[in-house]
């Protein structure tokens, strides 16, 4: 177990003018579960592969447990990796797959089979040890891939979207299993996903990347409550935060004619980007607030999500989302007047996207 440090780590593919990962600075504590999240092409997988040694580092360095591993081959880094497609060795049984790394390391047979049996016990794979991967279901293969990582007892686990090939129900189950397994083993883990729900639920901390640049690192709560910029605000949370252009006039931010007091400590003037989570707005009693024409209503049981267009800005591309209680849900076609909780608004610079205040 060890801490991991990315220090100004940059990766530039030959022939590409923009780096895939640009000056990544990230400290991952010993035993921490860190999730790298971002849209496709944001550099999250490249960062993980650099840590694994499968991708060259162009500039900067990577440290595992204080040791500079930047130029070491994967086999000398003491890491284990779970791949998106599991990459199980097709010609080996489940047991041989799990014991392969130990066999390569020259461990004696009795110790290998003891460790494999232990891991199989944890992952509920004992009865499948003699099967080939092709005779397993998707969920079982995923567990074998996990098993192959945990028998090693490595310094760091690397996981590259390990759940994306599972069906929705199994994904939710496995998500919890992986998170609790990691807590139990206490091995430093770097987990890559594009699914922000996975990111929020699994990790101790979440690092959001976009276009190869680290946007923000923090706990899921910090990212949700205090996004550093409009990208993080829009990316974290489901449904996404509503972002509308607004104006600051005399201590108030005005959107669609609705004045909202500026949050405490925010200095701003002129045009801003106003962010409101779907639960920070609610239908007003009087027809005075922010008017939204309803396009679609999504019932999800306890709550419902109302998707519409603000009347003052109908050219807005992304729909405006409101979370309403499941009883007395408004219908499509109606106009909804909304009140906004002034403590839950976020202001961003419209040009740079950076948080104001």
């Amino acid at each position: 177990m060890a801490a991991v440090t990315f220090a100004q780590t940059t990766q530039r593919y030959p022939g590409s003018d923009r780096p895939a990962v640009d000056g990544l600075d990230l400290e991952i504590a010993d035993g921490e579960f860190l999730v790298l999240v971002g849209p496709s092409g944001c550099g999250k997988s490249t960062s993980l592969r650099m840590l694994a040694g499968l991708e060259d580092v162009t500039e900067g360095s990577i440290l595992i447990g204080g040791r500079d591993v930047t130029d070491l081959p994967p086999k000398d880094r003491d890491i284990a990796m779970v791949f998106q497609n599991y990459a199980l060795y097709p010609h080996m049984t489940v047991g041989q797959n799990m014991g392969f790394a130990l066999k390569i390391a020259g461990m004696d047979k009795a110790e290998i089979s003891r460790r494999v049996a232990d891991a199989a016990e944890i992952l509920d794979l004992t009865e499948y040890l003699d099967r080939k991967p092709k005779a397993l279901s998707g969920g079982q293969r995923q567990r074998v891939a996990m098993g192959r990582a945990i028998v090693r007892n490595p310094q760091v686990f690397l996981m590259d979207e390990p759940l994306s090939n599972l069906d929705a129900k199994l994904r939710v189950q496995t998500r919890t299993q992986i998170a609790s397994l990691q807590r139990r083993l206490g091995v430093t883990t770097v987990y890559v996903t594009h699914d922000q729900v996975e990111a929020m639920t699994m990790g101790d901390r979440v690092a959001v990347l976009k276009d190869g640049v680290l946007q923000q690192v923090g706990t899921a709560r910090e990212l949700y409550d205090h996004p550093d910029n409009a990208f993080v605000a829009g990316f974290i949370g489901s449904p996404a935060m509503n972002l509308l252009p607004a104006r600051v006039e005399g201590g108030e931010v005005v959107v669609g004619g609705l004045p909202i007091p500026l949050p405490a400590g925010v200095q701003a003037s002129g045009e801003v980007l106003l962010g409101m989570r779907p639960e920070a707005v609610w239908p007003a009693d009087a027809p005075t607030g922010l008017a939204v024409e309803i396009d679609v209503v999504e019932e999800i049981g306890a709550d419902a999500f109302v998707y519409g267009r603000p009347q003052h800005a109908t050219d807005q591309k992304t729909p405006f989302v409101v979370r309403v209680p499941g009883r007395g849900v408004p219908r499509a076609g109606q106009t909804l007047h909304l009140d906004v909780d002034p403590r839950q608004v976020h202001l961003f610079d419209p040009a740079s996207g950076l948080r104001l205040g």
Partner: protein, 305 residues
Amino acid sequence: MTTTPVASAAPLTDGADPAATPTTASMGRRPRRPSASLASMGQRTFTGGLALLFLFPMLWAAVSSVSPQGGTAQTDGYGFANYETLANYQAGIGQYLLNSTIVSVLTVLLTVGVSLLGGYAFARFQFPGKNLLFLGTLAILMVPYATLLIPLYVLLNDLGMQNSLVGLALVLTMFQLPFATFMMRISFEAVPKELEEAALVDGCGSFTALVRVLLPAVRPGLITVGIFAFLAAWNDFITPLILISDSTKVPLPLAVANLRGQTMGIVDYGATEAGVVVLALPCVLIFLLLQRHYVRGFMSGALKG
């Protein structure tokens, strides 16, 4: 186990009751429409006919090698006298079989070894001129085989390998490599890159990963390449004809051809047919043994590559 009409629901595990099998079989066939079974019969007749057509020369050679015929060692009754003629011809069939085996095994080993590494490099590494080099390799296939033999003869002479079985194997390998490299490139490209990366992370170096993880994954391709190389080397006639001058060093096909014209233009057909049978047997055996992998090699190339 008692057999009832619903026995098909129970797995036929032990086959203790032989009556169960026809019952299930006929039940399985019942839903089939008559036109379907007619079509399948037509298909079987057609493919069976084709098989017979291809087998006929083989069977004819086998039968006539043991049949009585004037001008051969087997003049009356069926027997193996022609094989005796063959066995005792000049240096003895053992020598010629040994020559053929040395050349074929060397060709297979060299082809498999070189195409394995070459295919891996073409599939996995990026290097300048890669496509040009690959096209160049394939272009060897377009040059008529016989035109290269004289320059190769001169080249081997310069290397001091003319009239040597190793030299012969090198030339035969060269003719195998374009297809073999192509085949191995496709095989490697069909293997997910992550498999190799998993091996690297698991503690393998590049070479260990190739041997322990990739090799099993491309085995069908390797077997296909190996069979091709073996058949080509074993059956080749013109290359040893040009390159081997010593009559004790010739491989079996050449020995059989020499035997054929042995006495004053009178052809000993019986001994020739015996030679054909001896030549064909190893090919048939190897093909039968490895057929399963051979077909899979083609499938993996066609579907995944």
